[in-house]
Amino acid sequence: MKVSEAIEIIVGTYGDIESVARTLPVDAAEVAGATAEADTAEAVALGLLKKYNPYTAPKATTKV
């Protein structure tokens, strides 16, 4: 699922946005790179997605 689609679902729901955000299948890397304007519903939704989809950049591997 695209991050924009997930944000749209969270912004439009009258349910528990925490549990909705927790269950949406999104790419953590895409979430990490997404931005939203402050003090908007999109920013609230993106914050929850980042909370439940933490991204850790892969370590660079070196050949021995």
């Binding site: 729901t13 939704a45 914050g47």
Partner: protein
Amino acid sequence: MAAPNKILPGFAASLWMQSAATPTPLTTANLSVWTAQVATIVGTAANGTGAAGVLLPVEAVPAFGQDDAVASFSVAGSRQSDKIPVQAAPTSMTITAAWNPSDTALLQIRSDAASGVVDRTFVVAAVDGATTVAYAFNGRVGQFQIDAAPGAEAKCTFTVHPRGNQYGWSNT
């Protein structure tokens, strides 16, 4: 849910609600957004715009926020049970106001109570100067009584029952 990120040393609280007869309540995410969302319900006296809201003339704003509850689990043979804190529904607010039969907001509350199925966004605005911290929630009015005792001014009492999970904090 984001907690308020402002600290008010002292504040005055006021209660606001959407003014339309059949309003579309804010979605859960928008309950945490001040600009163009919660601000439209809060009047200019509390640093909002008031474009879609009206003040409820209550005597005092009661306690508001979230109740805590505990879910208990027991396993057969286990020495101790397990208690998991959970968030219960937001606190119901029983509110007393001086009864004014021509007050638009109180008449709307009375109409909502008669219906019982009108969802409306309410906002408790805590104001200190130019700073406002707002607690917004969607709720239904579940009780409306008028006490017309002759020894005092007539009062009305009503209870707002917040919908589960539908609340948010925001600030200017």
